[in-house]
């Protein structure tokens, strides 16, 4: 797998297709599994870790009929490549930063990745663009069933699949959807939505910058419990609530368009203007502005840039992507300059058609 090649595309989670993809960025399920005959990761000797990897490696690359998955030895990867995989949501931050024998198998279309020796011996992940939890569950269930026939997972008849952390025991399953909710943020309804989600046992996360706005207005909703409910129930627990949130977000967008059209149009246009002209820009500001522009495009206020281009910019302006695309390592200050240059190049060529050399 050539990571530099990979850097040029936007990956599955920001591909920007699939149902409801103007609001639902991606649907993802993760399953945690452990081999019965080895200690959990924290008690593994280096030899145990090596043995776990050796045993799993050959199985995880053959989980799909379509062809072998690529296996990357994460321990041997350079720091920037590990961060690159984190930005692409193919491995977790922990997996990138821990030590010892570990790896990841990745399907060519990036919908499937299997981390070996993360917090558990095996973390299976399937991710689809847009809202498609049923499709994701079907695919991950097939993969898990194949693996179940080849290795013995730690399983207890009463407690289910046994995991290193008791918070994952049972199904070992985490279902999540990533949502883009800028209008709920602007109309200050987002906290209300969060509180109601927490009441029904769902976790919501967002990263807050200065003030009260989440990083790029992206929020992730996931199940909190993993024991006592079937996988299908957990999938619908998250899935059933999503149409309602989409509805809230659309209503909030309607209200903004109707009641403060000029303010909204101004906000979106200014964001677009800054992104096309800035000479140095942090990734936080970039995310923040791209979020406004993305909503502007979805509402028809901006027409000369496409959603896939914006999705791609969200990921290409992340530090590791930026450096891989540039072909060299850069410090924060240089990254901010390079990021601004990258944005100018990609946002100005849309209308000028001659590559916008500014």
């Amino acid at each position: 797998m050539n990571l530099t090649e990979l850097a040029r595309s936007s990956g599955e989670w920001l591909r920007g297709s699939g149902p409801e993809s103007d609001i639902v960025i991606s649907s993802r399920i993760r399953l945690a599994r452990n081999l019965a005959e080895f200690p959990f990761i924290s008690r593994c000797t280096p030899a145990d870790r090596g043995e776990v990897e050796k045993r799993l490696r050959n199985h995880v690359i053959h989980v799909q009929a379509g062809g072998e998955l690529d296996y990357l030895n994460v321990n041997d990867l350079k720091g920037i490549d590990r961060q690159f995989l984190v930005e692409r949501q193919l491995i977790s931050r922990e997996h990138a930063e821990s030590e010892g024998a570990r790896g990841v198998a990745i399907a060519e279309n990036e919908q499937v990745s299997l981390m070996v020796n993360e917090e558990d011996h095996l973390r299976i992940q399937v991710m689809h663009s847009g809202l498609d939890l049923t499709g994701v569950w079907q695919q991950i269930n097939e993969i898990e069933t194949i693996l179940c026939d080849q290795v013995v997972f730690a399983f207890h008849p009463k407690l289910g699949f046994l995991t290193a952390c008791p918070t994952n025991v049972g199904t070992g399953m985490r279902v999540s959807v990533m949502l883009h909710l800028p209008a709920l943020v602007i109309t200050r309804q987002i906290d209300k939505v969060f509180r109601s989600l927490q009441k029904i046992g769902l976790a919501v996360r967002g990263l807050y910058g200065e003030g009260s706005q989440a990083m790029g207005d992206f929020y992730q909703i996931s199940n909190q419990i993993t024991l006592g409910k079937s996988e299908e129930t957990l999938v619908s627990q998250v899935g059933d609530i999503v149409p309602q949130i989409i509805e809230y977000e659309r209503k909030a967008r309607d209200v903004l368009v109707k009641e403060s059209h000029e303010t909204l149009h101004d906000r979106v246009s200014r964001a677009y203007g800054i992104l096309r002209t800035a000479q140095t820009i942090s990734s936080e500001e970039t995310m923040h502005l791209l979020s406004s522009v993305r909503m502007g495009v979805n509402l028809g206020l901006i027409s000369d840039v496409a959603i896939p281009t914006l999705n791609e910019l969200f990921i290409h302006t992340q530090p590791a992507h930026l450096q891989k695309l540039r072909g060299t390592e850069l410090d924060t200050a240089d990254r901010n300059i390079e990021r601004a240059r990258y944005l100018r190049r990609h946002l100005n060529k849309q209308d000028s058609g001659n590559g916008g050399k500014n």
């Binding site: 993760r30 452990n34 019965a36 005959e37 080895f38 200690p39 959990f40 990761i41 924290s42 008690r43 000797t45 145990d48 984190v86 977790s92 931050r93 922990e94 917090e119 269930n141 898990e144 013995v152 997972f153 730690a154 399983f155 207890h156 008849p157 009463k158 407690l159 289910g160 046994l162 290193a164 952390c165 008791p166 918070t167 994952n168 025991v169 049972g170 199904t171 399953m173 999540s176 976790a203 919501v204 996360r205 967002g206 990263l207 807050y208 910058g209 200065e210 992730q220 996931s222 909190q224 024991l227 006592g228 409910k229 079937s230 996988e231 957990l234 942090s282 990734s283 936080e284 924060t332």
Partner: protein, 169 residues
């Protein structure tokens, strides 16, 4: 304001909404990025577990009882309850049985349930148990080798081979 994890300026102010009350975090760009991309399950899990454990420990246990509890050891992997409590991660599948009395209230607290009702692998009965014993056997063999008890190490090695070769149900 300084970053909570280094000396740089905190430019990110994060409100973590997972769990009970919102938690404020103040971080520099690098640490905020690290936090943002940390897998959410992990963060959520760590906060819940630490909170529940702290609470459970504080309720109705004398220092003496606590110390005794902390010294309990899993016979399979050798982890103490104290080590689990500290790192929030168990040592092996057998811990769920070895510490079952201590873990049950914790599991109820997190999940509100005690029984799995999802997918079951086609084979596990007995299989998992004998497989789990391999963890203990390998650990004992390693100890025997390092203490130069070669006779015993050889016996353990044969036993491991036998268990490994045994068919699963």
């Amino acid at each position: 304001m300084k970053c909570q994890q280094c000396d740089k300026l905190a430019t990110f102010h994060i409100t973590e909404l997972t769990g009970g009350k919102p938690q404020e975090l103040h971080l520099c760009e690098d640490h905020a990025r690290q936090y943002l991309t940390r897998s959410d399950d992990e963060t959520a899990a760590a906060t819940t577990l630490a909170g529940v454990l702290a609470h459970q420990m504080a309720v109705g246990q004398t220092a003496e009882e606590l110390a005794r509890l902390d010294q309990r050891v899993c016979p399979v992997c050798g982890i103490t309850f104290y080590e689990f409590r500290n790192q929030g991660r168990l040592g092996c599948p057998h811990d769920y049985l070895a510490f079952s009395a201590e873990l049950e209230p914790l599991i109820i607290n997190i999940h509100g349930e005690t029984e799995h009702s999802g997918k079951r692998p086609a084979r596990y009965a007995g299989g998992t148990d004998s497989r789990t014993q391999l963890i203990r056997l390998r650990r004992e063999m390693k100890a025997a080798v390092s203490e130069e008890r070669y006779e015993q190490a050889k016996e353990l090695k044969d036993k491991i081979k036998m268990v490994e070769a045994a068919p699963l149900e």
